[in-house]
Symmetry: C2
Subunit: 161 residues, 2 copies
């Protein structure tokens, strides 16, 4: 099945290295979600939400790997138990804060993606559907590594599959 | 860009009509996530998590529409401010509970997808990244329509784009 970008995400991060690994580690860093003209009518009513999910292509993810040492741990884990970029379908998701919606562009805060990232979808963040504060989080709960920004371990130069 | 299914989601729901519209409305309904053999090593370490995100194709979504009347409201909204299936890239996401992980199959509870849904990705649910309980949710917060299960408004027979 084909997916087609519906827009582009612009951010201050030009390289994987030192890019925040999640919106919670990006703090107030702002970015812009540019939505292509045919899709702009679909942005109506977004301004009543504090957050949106951005669904996007991890266009510079390294090769697919089933076992990875994630940024927040010191040992190897199954890739589906991590948010590492090298999943078989390199689709990323980030819950970012809306700052402003105007003229087909969404100003967002807490951006954790690379500049020029292809946007696939936007969904509203609804805590009734998305928020489970007491959910156990496996190896993350062990807090063995406090890294908040990427290094080069999953960089595109290594992608060969 | 091409995406390829990495598995199939099996559920009790054969038709869009009367399928729960979100996991929170599916209660304890169980389903099975079958992961194809080449990807099974990536399931290691999932059993420490209460929930996972399933990312999947909404393979029976109706035609793309920029304005829709969502199941939980009585008037038209921009499609990106809704979780309706008719987004330009028909990618769904659901936070479901893990019951058991065994032999490349994940037994899950709170399943809200159609039987035979193509699976694209699995990510661990981590409240530190995903849980924002106080996030304002726009028109959802008005509680104008209490529908919890789908009707036929977004059914595939209408898909023609």
């Amino acid at each position: 099945m084909e997916v087609e970008p519906i827009g582009i995400i612009w951010s201050p991060f030009k390289e994987p290295k030192n890019t925040p690994i999640q919106p919670v580690f990006a703090e107030d860093t702002e970015g812009t979600v540019e939505v292509f003209a045919p899709f702009r009518d679909g942005l109506q009513d977004l301004d009543g939400f504090d957050r949106i999910w951005l669904i996007y292509l991890l266009h510079r993810a390294s090769k697919v790997q089933m076992l990875v040492t994630p940024f927040r741990d010191t040992c190897v884990r199954g890739v589906f138990a991590t948010r590492a970029p090298c999943h078989p379908n390199a689709i990323g998701m980030s819950a970012v804060r809306i700052v402003k919606v105007e003229n087909g562009r969404i100003q967002v805060a807490g951006i954790d993606v690379l500049d020029g990232t292809p946007l696939l979808d936007i969904k509203p963040y609804n805590p009734a559907f998305d928020s489970f504060p007491d959910s156990r989080a496996g190896w993350y709960d062990l807090n063995r590594e406090d890294r908040t920004h990427a290094d080069d371990r999953f960089e595109v130069k290594k992608r060969d599959s």
